[in-house]
Symmetry: C2
Subunit: 282 residues, 2 copies
């Protein structure tokens, strides 16, 4: 693991690392915020909150624009921000913004030409946490959240691994990818024509089948340009109500799909996760 840069922020350290991913079969970059850089504090261990970004993003968008470090520093939470896909000249790509590099959709691809590198689901669930927990002062608590495609990723990964995460949240997530243009295109390319194989990557399907319940918060702006066609939080809500999943879905009047929406409510999301990540087991 190679340190690319390290910058002090909010009394902690904002860092960027590169590592060779065994699963993705290419070098990967991620960002991490460590709540403090004080020396001699070797006892304290922190929970980790993973942020999954949306289409076209790298690890830098959230790190620079969301304003999450202030709260992570105050609450004592490590933030980890992976990239949104494998990258590099040898990695399959597509000229569209919503497929290939920058658009991994947090799935394990089974189809050519994607399956050699596009295993973002396993990378986020297994490889990256192993790396993080080996190198940083973590305890055994994890939360996961994200935006848009990354909100989809956070909901799916959280619900499929309730034993690994204490809490899940999402801004403007793609709630029902098996039934929207972004999802149909990406899942069809990565997983093939058999739409039944897509269901394991659909939050609306999963929330209707879930047995174990995690705390979930979803925030959605009502002026989001992708709301009706791509995001479909209403489908998620109906499925949650049908199955009795205690989903907390908040609609915010006037807000759009941008990072200004995320920045406006990042404090609420950090405090939501903190309630579960910092809880002392009785």
């Amino acid at each position: 693991m190679e340190l690319i840069n390290s910058t002090k922020a909010f009394d902690g350290l904002q860092q960027q690392y590169r590592h060779s991913s065994r699963l993705l079969n290419c070098p990967m970059v991620f960002s991490v915020f460590l709540p403090q850089d004080k020396e001699g504090d070797t006892i304290r261990k922190y929970p980790v909150l993973y942020w999954l970004s949306g289409l076209t993003c790298t690890d830098e968008n959230f790190s620079q624009k969301a304003g999450a470090q202030r709260l992570a520093a105050e609450l004592g939470i490590i933030l980890v921000v992976p990239d949104t896909s494998p990258r590099g000249d040898g990695v399959a790509d597509d000229s569209a913004y919503d497929l290939g590099q920058g658009a991994g959709f947090y799935v394990n691809a089974t189809q050519e030409p994607w399956r050699q590198h596009y295993r973002m689901y396993d990378y986020i669930v297994d490889e990256l946490p192993q790396l993080i927990e080996m190198h940083f002062p973590t305890n055994n608590r994890r939360g996961i959240f994200g935006h848009s495609m990354g909100g989809h990723g956070a909901l799916v990964i959280g619900m499929r691994n309730p034993q690994r995460y204490q809490s899940v949240s999402a801004f403007s997530p793609i709630c029902n990818p098996i039934a929207c243009p972004w999802g149909e295109k990406a899942l069809g390319a990565y997983l093939g024509a058999d739409a039944q194989s897509w269901e394991n990557y659909d939050a609306t399907v999963l929330i209707g089948r879930a047995v174990e319940h995690l705390p979930i918060l979803v925030s959605q702006g009502d002026q989001d340009q992708f709301l009706g066609k791509q995001l479909k939080p209403h489908a998620l809500q109906i499925a949650a109500e049908a199955s009795g999943y205690p989903l907390k879905l908040e609609h915010h009047q006037g807000y759009d799909h941008s990072y200004y929406f995320i920045a406006s409510f990042i404090e609420e999301h950090l405090r939501f996760h903190a309630d579960f990540l910092l809880k002392i087991d009785a």
Copy 2:
């Protein structure tokens, strides 16, 4: 004045406008944050805090990265973020990052080929505030702050116009441009070889000569890669002590020149300005 975009943020509006600048002789873009978008609130008027950005920046860097809107919304302050130079195909430029477009240095150029467009000093002091105060619900209070080249601009413009501003602050400012490589290059190009004409744009010279005192806060990271060669806060401090100017200069251990430094201390700066901008005249 043309609205380019408008996004809700922190219960207010983050907007971007384009207007035709008479002084700069080209179209100019600026960003503005308005603390609330609630209708029917026609009585309340806000003070305006102007942010001057550093080399290579546009109006977007601060708007996206500093996290200032949260405090501006809470405190009730309008933020205005101009571009760092005139722009466009017809505007003189240089291939270096530290001269020409993106590097106006907040001076009125007297030399060819700059003098037709590069009048950023007058633009910030006169034309932009006139436009802002015509179109937005402002009261008669103004503060000014900035970063690096923009910290230089804020200090110079504030000290030369103490009747127009209530408060001044700067992150990592170029404190003594007549005696550093960035300043010598830019002031030489824009103002010509006569170094005496540069002194009106040098915060260290001005603080030594000032009669009227404004509240000034300067924040500087001690791991800033430009500290010794380009920024020289020590020179400003010595001049302030010699003339009895009550400068508040803070050194922050471990911080560098980046926006992560700004984000870490933006709350302190907003609250500093609020003390003077929101004060009720007794």
